[in-house]
């Protein structure tokens, strides 16, 4: 591309002619000591807590501690070029990030600077990183479903729009995979997704972005990345920055989904900051306000009242446990803040049950109201059935002779477990989920060998889609499984059953 030099020159000339420099007034202080992402500053006598300050090299910082003789500042950026005696200026503003449509599809750092090499993020609007959560009057109960596309979750621990559902489990149990599938399943649902990678390996985040791009999910997703190589202050503010970006759309009346991957790393970063700032350590050396750090973040997820546009922000925080220890400090804190948790177990994962959700202790406290009627109808007894199956299975391992009814219950249980398995990046539409679970619980797949259940399920869904599309259509449009539809579904499944048996 060739540029017209004279055009550009005239723009610049006009800008210079119009420029009226104003006297800059600011509070200043001087750096007493600096290191490990924090600085202690003398002066700044009128600085406010949480105010943004500026160092001579242009790096920004945030006032963190106000002490008698000095101010503790966390440095958001390169702290190696800041030295003792440097002048620090207040800006009179709170830390804010760019928000709006310009950020969608971009990969940014917690300050909103682009990381994807696609040029500057040009947005006229910004939003403070720390915002008060909507109050009681501004909210309404969660009532719309947020389809994750994962059978086990949508059937037994449904997530509603505006809910906070914790995803918890040991390392390598598929926590991120569940959240990615959820993002991918929002395609065409008009939900803006924000993925906050906090303290993750940069290579993992790159993989996540690649997966999102490959499935066309980057068109409606913002990725906020603060890899583990970032200084602790950046990792600490990353979730708040992501929340601010989603919040903007929530107040516009849109639906949003935020994933904080993961909050245990953020807690570690915050612990590092607090200890460097000499705040007194508490349990596991975390500072006293670690609970508040997480609760004020997760409280920002809400379903707004209709007067405020009815937008919503669903949060899926992730917590990594050590050796399945859910009673550690951070996991118990976040469990108590959220509206339920999805618990992933390594034992299940290695037994090939993926997603490795332990349905026994996974709960959703508000999602039930948000479940579609059809799903509620077919999945109502699923959790209890599975629990009964687990008990029987343990009993059957003793090798005792079983009566016919018990054996049948066991067989169906094996097939249900098989049916709830789902490969990654293949979220299912809720109508397909309803059909699958209906077929499983009503025994239409009882004659299929356990190893072939997944294959049979695929064939069945294809069969319904091709030859009985009116059944699926009815479930999609009404969201219900009324008697007539159920009758039609029954006959369709009967048809499939005989056809499948003939083929064998």
């Amino acid at each position: 591309m060739k540029f017209k030099a004279d055009e550009i020159a005239s723009v610049i000339q006009r800008e210079i002619e119009d420029f009226r420099g104003q006297i800059q007034t600011s509070e200043v202080g001087r750096v007493l000591e600096v290191g490990d992402g924090i600085a202690r500053v003398y002066g700044l006598s009128d600085a406010m807590a949480g105010e943004m300050v500026e160092f001579p090299n242009g790096t920004r910082g945030q006032v963190f501690n106000l002490e008698e003789n000095s101010v503790g500042v966390i440095i958001l950026g390169d702290y190696l070029t800041i030295s003792e005696g440097d002048e620090v200026k207040t800006t009179g503003a709170l830390l804010s990030v760019p928000v709006g449509n310009a950020v969608i599809g971009r990969v940014v750092d917690p300050l909103g600077n682009p990381l994807d090499g696609k040029g500057p993020v040009i947005s006229n609007e910004t939003r403070p990183v720390e915002m008060a959560a909507p109050g009681v009057a501004a909210r309404q109960p969660v009532k719309q479903p947020l389809q994750t596309g994962i059978k086990a979750i949508d059937a037994m621990t449904p997530v509603g729009r505006g809910q906070r559902e914790l995803v918890i489990g040991d390392r390598k149990t598929g926590k991120t995979a569940i959240c990615l599938d959820t993002i991918i399943n929002q395609k065409g649902q008009d939900v803006v997704c924000v993925y906050v990678a906090c303290g993750q390996r940069a290579s993992t985040t790159a993989g996540v972005i690649e997966a999102l791009r490959a499935h066309g999910a980057m068109d409606y997703t913002i990725v906020v990345s603060s890899p583990s190589s970032d200084p602790a202050p950046m990792q600490y503010i990353a979730p708040y920055a992501g929340a601010a970006m989603a919040e903007y759309f929530m107040y516009q009346g849109k639906h949003t989904l935020v994933i904080y991957d993961d909050l245990s790393k953020q807690a570690t970063a915050y612990r590092q900051l607090s200890l460097l700032m000499r705040r007194p350590p508490g349990r596991e050396a975390y500072p006293g306000d670690i609970f508040y750090a997480h609760s004020r973040l997760l409280e920002r997820a809400a379903k707004l009242s209709d007067e405020l546009g009815g937008g919503s922000m669903t949060a899926l925080p992730i917590i990594e446990t050590l050796q399945g220890d859910v009673s550690a400090y951070i996991p118990t804190n976040v469990i108590s803040i959220t509206d339920g948790q999805i618990y992933l177990e390594p034992d299940l994962f290695f037994a090939g049950i993926r997603p490795a959700i332990n349905v026994g202790i996974s709960v959703s406290r508000v999602g039930g109201n948000a479940q579609t009627k059809a799903m509620k109808k077919v999945a109502g007894s699923l959790r209890l059935d599975l629990a009964a199956f687990r008990e029987l299975e343990a009993f059957a391992q003793l090798g005792t002779e079983l009566d016919k009814a018990t054996q049948a219950q066991l067989d169906r249980g094996y097939r249900m477990v098989e049916l709830l398995k789902q490969p990654q990046y293949e979220p299912l539409h809720f109508a397909d989920q309803v059909i699958t679970i209906y077929a499983g619980t009503k025994g239409y797949l009882d004659l299929v060998p356990v190893a072939q259940v997944a294959e049979a399920e695929k064939e069945m869904l294809q069969f319904i889609r091709e030859q009985h599309s009116e059944v699926r259509e009815a479930i999609v449009t009404t969201g219900q499984l009324d008697d007539t539809t159920e009758q039609k579904l029954k006959s369709a499944l009967e048809h499939f059953k005989t056809q499948y048996a003939r083929k064998q």
């Binding site: 055009e7 007493l32 009128d46 040009i122």
Partner: protein, 214 residues
């Protein structure tokens, strides 16, 4: 009033220890409060003369006062001998208090704090004015008048020269800086050009490029 030159005890680029400064503030304020009304100037002069005529002139004496090898009682006795009959009663007992609390090394800092406090009490405050070139007596005079009219106190101007400002003035009152220097304005202009023009060029690419050249 004390001369401007008198406050230049330390190099301006070296920072005070904030802890020591806070302590010195407490002692300085206490000393000022102990002085009978109307005699502050005399007592401060005595303080200054103790620092310049005794402590600085006799290094052995100040070493003895600061040394950890000399016991507190010996320091007290030494001070008593030096001050008896020569210093005022208040100043002598002030030195005794400092010696008892092992705060003698803070003496110069306490003196600075006394001056500072006294200035505040008489509604004066120091203002650091930095300019690119040396300011003439006349311009300093008019600056003092203008600042006096604009600020709620009488300014005591400490003029400094920093050629990197290019032009204009940089005025610092306490922690607040009023920056009207050319350097800062150029920086503002640079930031604005970068922000606005890049925005304009991004939003209207056709205007700036030849359609045939692509």
């Amino acid at each position: 009033m004390v001369d401007n030159a008198e406050l230049q005890h330390r190099i301006s680029s070296v920072m005070d220890d904030p802890g020591a400064r806070a302590l010195a503030h407490v002692y300085g304020e206490a000393y000022l409060n102990a002085i009978p009304e109307g005699q502050v100037a005399d007592y401060l002069e005595e303080f200054e003369s103790f620092l310049s005529d005794v402590v600085e002139k006799f290094p052995e004496f100040s070493q003895a006062l600061l040394s950890g090898m000399v016991s507190r009682d010996n320091k007290l006795r030494l001070l008593q001998q030096v001050t008896e009959g020569r210093a005022s009663e208040i100043f002598a007992s002030f030195l005794q208090v400092l010696a008892r609390h092992e705060r003698l090394p803070l003496l110069p800092a306490i003196y600075r704090q006394c001056l500072h406090q006294q200035e505040l009490r008489t509604n004066h405050q120091r203002v650091q004015v930095t300019s690119a070139r040396t300011l003439s007596e006349q311009s300093l005079e008019s600056l003092t008048q203008k600042l006096g009219a604009a600020l709620p106190f009488q300014p005591i101007i400490e003029a400094r020269v920093d050629p990197s400002l290019i032009g204009g003035l940089h005025i610092r009152v306490g922690d607040t800086v009023y920056d009207g220097s050319l350097r800062t304005r150029l920086k503002q202009l640079q930031a604005r050009l970068r922000e606005r023009s890049s925005h304009e060029i991004q939003s209207g690419r056709n205007r700036f490029s030849h359609s045939a050249g692509n």
